[in-house]
């Protein structure tokens, strides 16, 4: 079975590389989700703040990065970032093109996009906290930071889990676009394998399956996290 050997782990098989590539895809997505969480909470905070300027800035961020094609952002970060680095290099006396590391550029680009979606998730989660619970926290004498740590943070986290699960799925798929920078992720590796073996159909099917495995495993992870976090919800919601 020649086909079977091609995707196997033998000396002529692509199995090992595909596995590595899946890991790479997971890593890019995870780092992107983290960057997105930081950007997203800042943007959500800006959108909820009393300042008009901050609200406008936050609104602009979510509009722009949800409205522009992901690929364009990746090009912008990778080539834009690289020319900035090259310019700095030239100024410091180095001749020639300096590339941004494709992992960093990819994770940053996907993170920026994911941040726009996460901002909406966090904002919705904050607004889902019953106002009375925040008043009770004030009334018992909690200062601002204590309220954030003890009441707001944990509840935002709880309400945000399903939404963050969705963003993770989106980012996982967006991360395939990072292959344009040459990063050896699952997409890129499937492409290379398909090209060099001329078995296009086989490798794109295998690549697709690996993506499905990644998404269904993460789906399970987020569902169980959601269940855990919803222990405190009324049974009708909690066990759903």
């Amino acid at each position: 079975m020649a086909l079977f050997q091609l995707i196997g782990f033998g000396p002529t098989g692509w199995g090992g590389l595909l596995l590595l590539a899946s890991l790479m895809t997971l890593c890019v997505t995870a780092v992107a989700l983290l960057i997105g969480a930081i950007l997203g909470s800042l943007v959500a905070w800006a959108k909820l703040s009393g300042s008009r300027i901050l609200r406008t800035l936050g609104g602009t961020y979510t509009t722009v990065f949800r409205g522009v094609p992901e690929l364009l952002i990746i090009y912008l970060v990778y080539f834009g970032g690289s020319s900035a680095v090259t310019a700095i290099g030239t100024a410091m006396g180095y001749e020639g093109f300096l590339g941004l590391p494709s992992f960093a550029a990819g994770a940053l680009a996907v993170g920026i996009i994911s941040g726009a979606y996460q901002a909406e998730v966090f904002r919705g989660a904050y607004l889902a906290i019953p106002k009375g619970e925040l008043e009770a926290a004030q009334a018992i004498g909690m200062n601002r930071s204590l309220r954030f740590r003890r009441i707001i943070g944990p509840q935002v986290f709880r309400f945000a889990i399903p939404g963050i699960g969705n963003v993770w799925q989106l980012s996982l798929k967006d991360s395939a676009l990072v292959s344009v920078t040459g990063l050896a992720d699952l997409m890129r590796t499937s492409q290379v394998a398909a090209g060099s073996t001329r078995q296009h159909f086989l490798f794109f099917i295998v690549g697709g399956c690996l993506y499905l495995i990644l998404t269904s495993f993460s789906d399970r992870f987020f569902t169980s996290a959601e269940k855990r976090a919803n222990r405190s919800m009324p049974t009708s919601l909690g066990q759903a």
Partner: protein
Amino acid sequence: MTPTTLNQTGTTMAGTTRLSVRNIRKSFGTHEVLRGISLDARDGDVISLLGASGSGKSTFLRCINLLEIADHGEISVDGELIQMEQRGGKNVPANRRQVDRIRSELGMVFQSFNLWSHMTILENVIEGPVHVLKRPRAECIAEAEVLLEKVGIAEKRNAYPAHLSGGQQQRAAIARSLAMKPKVMLFDEPTSALDPELVGEVLRVMRSLAEEGMTMLVVTHEMSFARNVSNRVIFMKSGEIDSDGAPDQLFGSGGSPSFRQFIGNFGG
């Protein structure tokens, strides 16, 4: 209309003044909701605040612990004046830390319970003592268990609020306030959100608090509580105190015509 003010001789014990409110005014936009309200609560006083919907009872209670900031007036808790200052033409607290501390000395019980839904009942009760008062956790748990026993929900200690009945939630909320060892307890219609058959269990807890000498300010529509448990009744009308006196006197013959009309609506 002349306010029916009765002096407090005989109605209160000769205790210290726990809460003193001087000439509170509060407007929302152009609507003046509180038009100069003063009140002194002495140790062990149980004061029922009555009044029609919109008369400003909740706003008054919320001004006392600064959930709303009064435009004018002074508030002292246990002799300590809450410092205010003028900023941008508005009356604001001068010292946030003082506000937080004063709040921790005032228990507040809300109509809608407002337990923290992500914490168990026990966690709700120890939250304040452990994180606001920074007391040792083990000690707080021991005290919380006694309190939960007292309000009759010890067996629910590890349940989440959403899994309790309204009456149980409100009793848990009372325990949460008591855990702070408050100097004064403020209740804003604590039984109004409850099914009729659950009102009694909450009133019983409040009654036993009153009997133990807790200083309480209770906004309520429960006339039996006002009559039989409180030692003073204040009737508010359009942001002012209309009648103020011992329940026997007000419910007897001392109340103003508006007060008579008000209690008439309750079939009293």
